[in-house]
């Protein structure tokens, strides 16, 4: 049979989702698919567009690669705009030629609305929609100071965030009296405004721009109708979207009065061979400007073309949950209480900066809508009440009041099978149960099989609860104990040590554990004890708890020898010290390599050699670099204002200060920091647990980034801090991490698992919402005061040195080690598994 031609116009998120859905169906084999994209690049994630300025590339944001299209047999025509649809001849016309279709899908999306203001078409008046737009914004922002976003809605605030990431002073100009007028009420809008202004974004509401003319201090001047004005170097219009329906309109398809291609429940337009999905489609007189409804349309159309007569799009919930400039905002259902008889319950906490509003039915039985600002923790629960018509508890106010102990959070058990857990991929609780019943026994598998939580990720917390509950109810034990010796998590052990002032592992084991411990719980408890009492790790009670790296204060390598890394704070080192390192390495035959943390690693020292090596290093003024410990490693820096033409602060000085302050702090995992002297970010601070980037006015603090196996960009935590405030925030944050993180949990994962996320952490650290700020600082001060170079202490104590012997009864070196030479240095010889087994059998 000859294949039919299916053409998709538009290669955005929804168009791509349609292809993903359709290529998986049986009908796909009957079609030859061609996709036209106006942009140069294949479909990417527009929801996370602002991350482009935080370092994400098109590859990071891409929904799929061009290879994927190749594998699916889809012809992908990028940078080729369709100019006309000829419905008579069933052809799509582009500048390159005419293409016949049997079925045509319009997924043309929308375009940014630019208000009709005189002067809106001059250079540096831009929009925010595509990666090309972002490149244009970046170019325009080079070397200038101020940017204005016109529009204080969801997209406008995203754009403001983008301008801020570019280092601009960002202003938002909104016509309405408040931000996000569609989703929020006055109180919510006011609180959001305060929070955003705290982050340095200037907000101007009730401003209508009358004209844009050349400025005096800046490139442009915006005159407002109230005679006020604002100068700026660039303007980004983000005042809403309009459906991209020009092709449909020209082709004579039915369109709505205010735009949008009219479709029915099967996404079919007025021409049965032409379909429309996503933001260009008008269903029931509604345009859906969110990705989830677009995905639902895509899925519906794919099923319809696959012959599923039941498939129908029946509207979509427009609730949204997002983080704007780091501030949680949630809006559910009838947020403005417009339903007949609707009542509202409101809770505003000005000190914590949170606002929660619940809209309920007249009989107080059902949730109709909600608004959340500053804290989205209750979003999932409220959404489920609303979507599923679950009857409210007797005191519905308990759902929005701070946890009073008896707040009935809606457990996973209370949700019906039909409850939608992931709206991006339309995964219901029933779908999750099916996956579990067919063999999935952990969260990862459920995610892979259902795609839940892989869209916007907003449902990750709820998904975890549902999966854990369902596994537990099927008798699968979800064990969170640290190991078989303690029925507690690391955090619980931490609290036990704290409350009962426990000082040794033995004491903790006797009171709360069983057996003799193991290689999991012992080092974890050692780390907890160290963060409270900071005693030398060679105290007799602590010695048996440590991993070999901690015991011998060096890093064990694959042949049983160790590497030595002296501290080089901030990576700054004198020629004399550099010479000492070379001499010591030469004398003991150590392999040398520069580390990623700007210091020098000396490999191949035997136990016998370690004290000798360190004696010489300490005499030359070095101290331990803690490369072996779960503690601060290095504070990487660029050279900053002391040398660099661009540096605006002394980044080396700050990094040396930070490294000296936090060296020796024991933590659940290793910690890395970085300090950059300007926004060029040469120290890669945003890939560190603590990242500090200089600004004209002080320092921007980034937190919980990570390189390594699972890279994560650090989140902007606070801006333009002075030295003192910077240190205060880092003190509090690190100590809070030490107190609450799980064993071996990096700050990145810790933050992702912290309920309330970044906003909560900011609240704890900046606003001291738990009232523990001073306590955390005092605890850090104690750690700083009691710092000792463990190697210096060890060398002055003969008892401690006794352990540094290969054999306690003989001075010989281990005879098993075999060495080879490579590129002028010595390294361990490679051994096969068989050689390992027979190495000592002789």
């Amino acid at each position: 049979m000859k294949k039919q031609h299916l053409i998709v116009i538009g290669n955005g998120m929804v168009g791509h989702h349609f292809l993903e859905q359709f290529t998986g169906s049986d009908a796909a084999a009957n079609y030859h698919i061609t996709v036209f994209g106006e942009e140069r690049l294949c479909a990417y994630d527009r929801v996370h567009l602002s991350e482009y300025f935080d370092g994400s590339s098109h590859e990071d944001l891409a929904m799929a690669s061009t290879e994927w299209y190749g594998e699916q047999g889809i012809e992908l025509m990028l940078d080729e705009a369709v100019t006309r649809i000829d419905r008579e001849r069933q052809q799509v016309i582009t500048s390159q030629g005419a293409y016949p279709y049997d079925a045509l899908v319009l997924a043309t999306g929308s375009y940014p609305f630019v208000p009709p203001i005189d002067g809106n078409d001059q250079p540096h008046c831009l929009v925010y929609r595509t990666l090309d737009d972002l490149d244009a914004i970046r170019k325009s922002a080079e070397g200038v100071k101020r940017g204005v976003v016109v529009g204080g809605g969801l997209l406008g605030l995203e754009a403001a965030n983008a301008l801020k990431s570019l280092g601009l002073e960002a202003h938002v100009v909104e016509f309405a009296p408040r931000l996000m007028p569609v989703q929020l009420d006055d109180e919510g809008g006011q609180l959001l405004r305060e929070k955003i202004e705290e982050l340095g974004v200037r907000v101007h509401t009730e401003k209508a721009t009358s004209e844009i003319i050349p400025g005096e201090q800046h490139r442009l001047r915006m005159n407002f109708t109230d005679e006020d004005h604002l100068e700026t170097d660039l303007i980004v219009f983000s005042a809403g979207i309009r459906p991209q329906d020009a092709l449909a309109r020209d082709a004579g398809l039915e369109v709505g009065d205010r735009g949008g291609v009219v479709v029915d429940n099967q996404c079919t337009t007025s021409d049965p061979r032409v379909f429309a999905i996503g933001e260009c489609a008008l269903w029931n007189n509604q345009i859906f400007g969110l990705v989830a409804p677009g995905y639902t349309m895509a899925k519906t159309l794919a099923a319809h073309l696959n012959g599923d007569g039941e498939a129908a799009f029946t509207g979509a919930d427009m609730s949204t949950k997002l983080k704007l400039l780091g501030v949680d905002v949630g809006s559910i259902g009838d947020a403005h209480a417009q339903s007949a008889g609707a009542r509202t319950l409101r809770y505003l906490d000005e000190s914590a900066g949170t606002y929660q509003k619940l809209v309920i039915s007249e009989d107080r039985k059902y949730a109709l809508g909600a608004i959340l600002v500053g804290d989205n923790a209750k979003y999932d629960t409220l959404l489920q009440y609303m979507l599923n018509g679950i009857e409210l508890p007797e005191n519905p106010q308990s759902l929005i009041l701070p946890d009073s102990g008896d707040a009935p959070t809606l457990g996973a058990d209370a949700l019906p099978e039909t409850a939608t857990i992931c709206s991006c991929h339309n995964v219901s609780k029933g779908d999750i149960c099916c996956t579990i019943d067919s063999g999935a026994t952990d969260l990862g598998t459920v995610k892979t099989e259902t795609k839940a939580a892989s869209g916007c990720g907003g449902c990750a917390g709820l998904l975890k609860n549902v999966v854990e509950f369902e596994l537990e109810s099927r008798g699968v034990e979800v064990n969170k104990d640290i190991c078989e010796h303690f029925p507690y998590t690391r955090q619980e052990l931490y609290h036990l040590v704290q409350v009962e002032k426990i000082r040794t592992f033995r004491e903790l084991l006797d009171r709360h554990g069983t057996g003799r411990g193991c290689d999991i719980c012992k080092p974890a408890v050692a780390s907890i004890l160290a963060s409270f009492w900071n005693e030398h790790i060679h105290e007799p009670d602590h010695v048996p708890l440590q991993d070999t790296n901690d015991t011998f204060m060096a890093n064990m390598q694959k042949n049983g020898t160790y590497s030595v890394v002296p501290r080089v704070p901030g990576g700054e080192i004198t020629p004399e010290k550099l010479r000492v390192l070379g001499e010591v390495a030469e004398k003991y035959g150590l392999y040398t390599k520069i580390t990623g943390g700007q210091r020098i690693d000396l490999f191949g020292a035997t136990l016998n050699q370690l004290p000798l090596v360190w004696q010489e290093l300490i005499e030359a003024g070095f101290e331990t670099g803690h490369a072996y410990a779960k503690s601060l490693r290095t504070v990487k820096s660029c050279v900053g204002s002391t040398w660099c033409r661009y540096g605006v602060q002394d980044s080396v000085g700050m990094s040396i200060f930070l490294e000296n302050r936090y060296k020796g702090l024991r933590a659940p995992h290793k910690l890395k920091m970085g300090v950059s002297g300007c926004t060029r970010e040469c120290a890669e601070a945003q890939a560190k647990d603590i990242g500090v980037i200089a600004t004209e006015n002080g320092w921007n603090l980034y937190v919980c980034g990570n390189g390594g196996m699972r890279p994560r960009h650090a989140d902007l935590f606070a801006t333009d801090l002075d030295d003192q405030t910077l240190v205060k925030y880092i003190d509090r944050l690190l100590m809070f991490y030490v107190r609450t993180a799980d064993r071996l949990q990096r700050t990145s994962v810790w933050l992702e698992n912290l309920e309330g996320g970044l906003a909560y952490l900011q609240n704890v650290v900046i606003n001291d919402s738990l009232g523990i700020g001073e306590e955390l600082e005092a605890q850090m001060a104690h750690v700083v005061e009691t710092y000792q170079c463990e190697w210096r202490t060890a060398l002055s104590d003969q008892d401690k040195l006794k352990r540094f012997r290969e054999f306690v009864n003989d001075e010989r070196e281990d005879p098993v080690q075999t060495w080879t030479e490579e590129r002028g240095q010595k390294r361990p010889a490679d051994m096969t598994a068989e050689e390992k087994l027979i190495a000592v059998s002789g």
């Binding site: 057996g515 003799r516 193991c518 290689d519 012992k522 007799p540 352990r803 009864n809 190495a839 000592v840």
Partner: protein, 124 residues
């Protein structure tokens, strides 16, 4: 204990060289041996090969001591496999085991029966 065999006991170190709840390595005629001191067990001290056959290096004395379901074990510091101190058996891989040795405390001396070396049996 048979006096005839006593002559084969070799003093390898003194009790003060041992570290409670941890291991030390000694050099013996049979090569490197790891000695563990667990004062609250009936045996008090244990001796197994110091060489880790999985990692291919002499490191077992430097592992963390603990128990798995009551069985005293050491975790290799290289790749964390657990070896029984009583049998030398690797708990993660039944095909792998290390030798263990008879060892005892006598008047503050640690004595090892050098040629009393026995290969571990899984039943042990």
């Amino acid at each position: 204990m048979n006096t005839e065999h006593d002559s084969q006991w070799q003093v390898v170190c003194s009790r003060s060289d041992l570290v409670p709840e941890a291991g030390v390595a000694v050099w013996t005629q049979a090569g490197p041996v790891a000695i563990f001191y667990l004062p609250d067990t009936p045996e008090q001290i244990f001796a197994i090969e110091h060489y880790d056959p999985v990692g291919g290096a002499s490191v077992l004395a430097r592992g963390i001591v603990g128990d798995v379901q009551g069985e005293p074990v050491v975790a290799s510091p290289l790749y964390k496999q657990h070896f029984s101190l009583r049998s030398g058996q690797c708990l993660e891989d039944e095909r792998v085991s290390v030798s263990c040795f008879e060892v005892r405390l006598d008047k503050g001396q640690v004595q090892l029966r050098a040629h009393g070396r026995k290969k571990a049996s899984r039943a042990a």
